[in-house]
C-alpha cells in the first residue's frame, strides 16, 4: 500500500487543480449505512439438527466512498466499509474485557486506486491500486470474469468480489474499439461462505457414532473399496479429531501472478469482447486427503482419527468471447452471451489412510483433467410496458464449477421484477434450477420499499431446494452425486430484513 500512497501523493503534488475548479468539484463523497438481520428457517441444514428461528446475522455496515479529482486527468478513489457483526465472540471471561470480542468488527478496503487519463498518449488510461474488475457481458454468471475472485461471505449477495492490487492499462485507439491489459501481481482466492466448512465436516448420529465423512473425488470402484474399508470398522469406535483443511499457497513468484487482456468492439447494435486470462481458478479444488488412525489408550478398540486434507488453486488459461445485442427487430429484446474456453492445469487427487504406521489405503484419481473445457452463459432480458422486467439465462458451468469430478452442470437462471407505485415498491423473484440434476435449485423472493429517496427497506431470503444427502447407488454416493444446492455446504434457508440509507 506504500506504493499506492506514494502515487497518490505524487498525483497531488504535481497536478494542479483545473482553473476555476472548486473543492466541491474536486471531491465526491458517497456511501451508505445498512443494517441486516437474518433468521434461520430450517432445522436440517446445519452441522447439527435444529436452529429454526435462530438469528444467523445481525450486521451493521457503514460504507464510505471518496473520489478526489485534482484535475480532469487524475482521479483517486477510496472505498471502504466498516462492518459490525452484531454477535459477541466472547467465550472466556478475559474475552469480556476486549471490545473486539464483545462487539466484533472488520474493516474492508474495497477499492483504493489512483487513475491517470491521457498519460503518455491522449488515448491511454492507467489505474493502479486496489481494484475490482467486472468483465463479461451477462449478469452475474461470467465465465470470462476471473481477475477478482468472488466474495461469497454473504450468500445473499454473491456478486461481491475480493479486491486485489493490480495495474490496469486501457487504450482507446478508435470509437469502435477499446483495449485493456491488466496485471495482478498476487493471486487472491475466493472468500467462501460460512457454510463451506460443512463440505469437509464429519457427521455423527445421535448416539455419537460416526455417520458420514466428506465424499472424496474418487471413481466409483475406488469409492466402493473405501466404503468396504470403513464398513469393516465399528462406527462407534471412530473419534474424528476436528478435520483440518489446508490451503496450498499459490506462491508469489512472477509466474504465479495473473494477467489478462481484452478487446471490446462496438459494432452498432452488437458489442463484442474478446478476452484472454492467465492465472488461477479462484475456488479451491480437492488435492489430497490423509487420515491417521491411532488406537486410544483409554478406550480399548476405539481409535482417534486425524483427518487432514489439502486444497489447491489450479492454474488456468481462459480464452473468452462475450456479446450484447439489442434486437430492435424483435421488440427491442436484449440478448447477451459469454463463452470461455478454459485450459486447466491437471489436478490429481490422492487419498491415504494410515492405521498407526501402516498404510492401509492409497488411492489416486485425476480430479481435474488437463483437457480444455467450455463454460458459457446465454441470456435475454425484456421489459413489459407495465413495469415487469424479465431476465432468463442458460448457464453451463456454475461460477464455482471447474470440470472436476463433480463435472459441469447446466442451469436455468431466471429473475423477474415488478415495480409499483412510481418505483417505490418492487417485487422480485429470482431462482436457479439445476437442469442436470433436476431436483435442486434456489429460490429468492425480494420485496424492496423505497420509503423516501435514499432510504429503503428490503425483505428477502433464500430457500435451497434439494436433499441434503446425496442419492446412494449400491449403498454409497460419489462426489458427483452431491446435490448442487441441497448439500449443507450451500447454506441455510434464511429470511432477511435490511434497511439502508444512501448518501
Amino acid at each position: 500500500m506504500r506504493s499506492f500512497a506514494t502515487a497518490l501523493l505524487v498525483a497531488f503534488l504535481f497536478t494542479s487543480p483545473a482553473r476555476g475548479q472548486s473543492l466541491a468539484d474536486m471531491i465526491d463523497f458517497s456511501g451508505y449505512i445498512e443494517s441486516d438481520t437474518r433468521m434461520i428457517l430450517d432445522n436440517y441444514r446445519g452441522l447439527n439438527p435444529g436452529g429454526f428461528g435462530d438469528l444467523e446475522l445481525n450486521r451493521n455496515e457503514v460504507n464510505l466512498r471518496l473520489g478526489i479529482n485534482p484535475n480532469d486527468q487524475v482521479r483517486a478513489v477510496v472505498d471502504t466499509r466498516l462492518r459490525y457483526f452484531g454477535f459477541s465472540q466472547a467465550e472466556q471471561l478475559p474475552d469480556l474485557i476486549e471490545r473486539a470480542k464483545v462487539d466484533p468488527y472488520s474493516i474492508y478496503l474495497d477499492e483504493a486506486y489512483f487513475a491517470a487519463r491521457g498519460v503518455i498518449f491522449s488515448n491511454l488510461d492507467l489505474r493502479i491500486g486496489r481494484l475490482i474488475q467486472n468483465w463479461g457481458a451477462v449478469d452475474q454468471f461470467n465465465p470470462t470474469d476471473n481477475l477478482n475472485s468472488r466474495d461469497l461471505s454473504d450468500p445473499l449477495d454473491f456478486t461481491k468480489k475480493v479486491p486485489n492490487q493490480m495495474v490496469e492499462m486501457s487504450l482507446y485507439p478508435a470509437e469502435w474499439i477499446d483495449l485493456t491489459v491488466v496485471w495482478v501481481p498476487v493471486f487472491k482466492p475466493a472468500q467462501l461462505p460460512p457454510s463451506a466448512n460443512l463440505a469437509f465436516a464429519v457427521e455423527y448420529d445421535q448416539a455419537g457414532c460416526f455417520k458420514k465423512a466428506p465424499i472424496p473425488p474418487l471413481s466409483r470402484p475406488q469409492m466402493a473399496e473405501l466404503v468396504d474399508y470403513f464398513g469393516s470398522l465399528d462406527p462407534c469406535s471412530m473419534h474424528f479429531i476436528d478435520p483440518q483443511v489446508r490451503v496450498l499457497d499459490p506462491g508469489r513468484n512472477i509466474a504465479d501472478s495473473q494477467a489478462a487482456a481484452k478487446a471490446k468492439l462496438y459494432l452498432g447494435p452488437l458489442d463484442i469482447t474478446l478476452s484472454y486470462y492467465y492465472g488461477r481458478f479462484g475456488f479451491p479444488a480437492a488435492y489430497t486427503a490423509v487420515a491417521y488412525a491411532t488406537p486410544r489408550m483409554d478406550e480399548p478398540g476405539a481409535q482417534d482419527i486425524e483427518y487432514i486434507a489439502e486444497v489447491t488453486y489450479p492454474r488456468m488459461q481462459v480464452a473468452g468471447l462475450d456479446f450484447t445485442y439489442s434486437a430492435d427487430w424483435l421488440f427491442g429484446m436484449g440478448f447477451m452471451g459469454e463463452i470461455a474456453v478454459i485450459f486447466p492445469e491437471q489436478v490429481d487427487f490422492g487419498l491415504r489412510a494410515f492405521r498407526g504406521k501402516a498404510l492401509e489405503i492409497d488411492m489416486a484419481h485425476t480430479n481435474i483433467p488437463s483437457d480444455p473445457f467450455v463454460k458459457g452463459t446465454f441470456g435475454m432480458d425484456y421489459s413489459l410496458p407495465f413495469g415487469l422486467y424479465l431476465n432468463v439465462m442458460y448457464v453451463h458451468g456454475f461460477f464455482d464449477e471447474f470440470n472436476d469430478m463433480y463435472g459441469l452442470h447446466d442451469y436455468l437462471v431466471a429473475a423477474t421484477e415488478f415495480k409499483f407505485f412510481d418505483d417505490e415498491l418492487a417485487f422480485r423473484l429470482a431462482g436457479v434450477w439445476d437442469i442436470t440434476q433436476r431436483e435442486t435449485g434456489t429460490f429468492t423472493p425480494t420485496v424492496t420499499w423505497v420509503i423516501v429517496p435514499s432510504v429503503e427497506i428490503q425483505a428477502t431470503g433464500i430457500y435451497f431446494i434439494g436433499d441434503v444427502d446425496p442419492p446412494e447407488t449400491d449403498g454409497f454416493s460419489t462426489y458427483d452425486q452431491k446435490w448442487r444446492f441441497g448439500q449443507k455446504a450451500a447454506g441455510r434457508n434464511v429470511a432477511s430484513l435490511r434497511g439502508r440509507i444512501t448518501w
Binding site: 487519463r117 488510461d125 477499446d178 452498432g268 450484447t324 434486437a327 436484449g334 421489459s383 418505483d423 435514499s454
Partner: protein
C-alpha cells in the same frame, strides 16, 4: 415509445431576447418543426443540474437530483447525485446505443432498447424521453391552427416509428420557436399526457432566458412530474470523449 417530448424539451428555451423571426413569416409545418428542433439542440453542448420531482395523485412527492451533460443532439450523460440511485450514470451514445453504470455492481452494462419504454425512476418520463430525440426524425407535422403567439402542430409518427402515441398537439412559440406545450393522444383519441414549460430565467453565463420549469402530467389521473433546472451552462467545450464508455469507467 419515444414521446419525443424528450428531455431536450427541458431546453425548449425561451430565448426571447434573440428572437428575430417575425410572426408574419410564412413557414410550412416542416419548417416550423425544423426550427424548433434547431432551437432545442442548437448548442454545442449543455450541462445542467436538475431536480426531478414525482408527484403522486395523493400529493406525495419524491425528488432526485441529477446532472445532465449533452453534446450535439445525440450524446447525453446523466448522473444521479442523490437518492438510492446516487452515482448511477446513463450514457446515450445515440438512440440505439445506451449504457448504464451500476455502482452497486461496479459495472457498465449495455441497455437493450426494450428498456427505453420504462418509466424513468417512477416518473412520467420514460427512459426514451431522457435520451435525445429529434421531432423531425420521428414525426410528420401538420399545421392545425395558429393565433398571434403560437403555431399548433399536429404531429403524427412517421411510418415505422413506434412512439406509443397516435398524435401530439404541440404549441410552438412564434417569437421563439419553442415548444411551450404538447398534448399527447392515444389511438382512441384520449388525452393521456401533457407537457408544459414555464418560468423563464436568465442563468449566469447565458445570454437568453431559458425555461427553468417543466411539468409532465397525466390528465386522467393527476399524476405528474416536474423538472426544475437549478443550474445551466452552455457551450462549455465538453469533450466528445466525455460521452463514451471510457468516461463511464473513469468517473465511476
Amino acid at each position: 415509445m419515444r414521446l419525443a417530448l424528450s428531455l431536450s424539451l427541458l431546453l425548449a428555451l425561451s430565448m426571447a431576447g434573440t428572437v428575430t423571426t417575425s410572426a408574419q413569416e410564412k413557414l410550412s409545418a416542416i419548417q416550423i418543426l425544423e426550427r424548433m428542433d434547431t432551437k432545442i439542440n442548437g448548442n454545442e453542448d449543455q450541462d445542467m443540474d436538475v431536480t426531478l420531482t414525482v408527484i403522486d395523485t395523493d400529493g406525495s412527492e419524491k425528488s432526485y437530483d441529477f446532472n445532465i451533460k449533452q453534446k450535439g443532439n445525440d450524446k447525453r450523460l446523466i448522473r444521479f447525485n442523490s437518492g438510492e440511485l446516487k452515482n448511477m450514470s446513463i450514457l446515450t451514445m445515440n438512440q440505439d446505443q445506451v449504457y448504464i453504470y451500476l455502482p452497486g455492481y461496479k459495472k457498465v452494462r449495455r441497455v437493450a432498447s426494450h428498456n427505453m419504454s420504462q418509466s424513468f425512476v417512477g416518473s412520467d418520463f420514460t427512459n426514451a424521453d431522457m435520451a435525445t430525440a429529434s421531432f423531425l426524425e420521428v414525426y410528420d407535422p401538420v399545421l392545425e391552427k395558429e393565433d398571434e403567439a403560437f403555431w399548433y402542430l399536429r404531429l403524427t409518427p412517421k411510418p415505422g416509428k413506434d412512439t406509443g402515441y397516435a398524435s401530439l398537439l404541440t404549441k410552438v412559440g412564434k417569437k421563439d420557436f419553442l415548444q411551450w406545450q404538447s398534448d399527447f393522444f392515444d389511438e382512441k383519441g384520449t388525452h393521456v399526457k401533457r407537457f408544459a414549460a414555464s418560468q423563464p430565467k436568465l442563468f449566469p453565463g447565458t445570454t437568453a432566458e431559458w425555461h427553468s420549469h417543466i411539468e409532465l402530467s397525466d390528465p386522467r389521473t393527476g399524476h405528474k412530474t416536474t423538472m426544475k433546472v437549478n443550474a445551466l451552462k452552455l457551450n462549455q467545450g465538453l469533450k466528445k470523449s466525455m460521452f463514451t464508455t471510457r468516461y463511464l469507467q473513469w468517473a465511476k
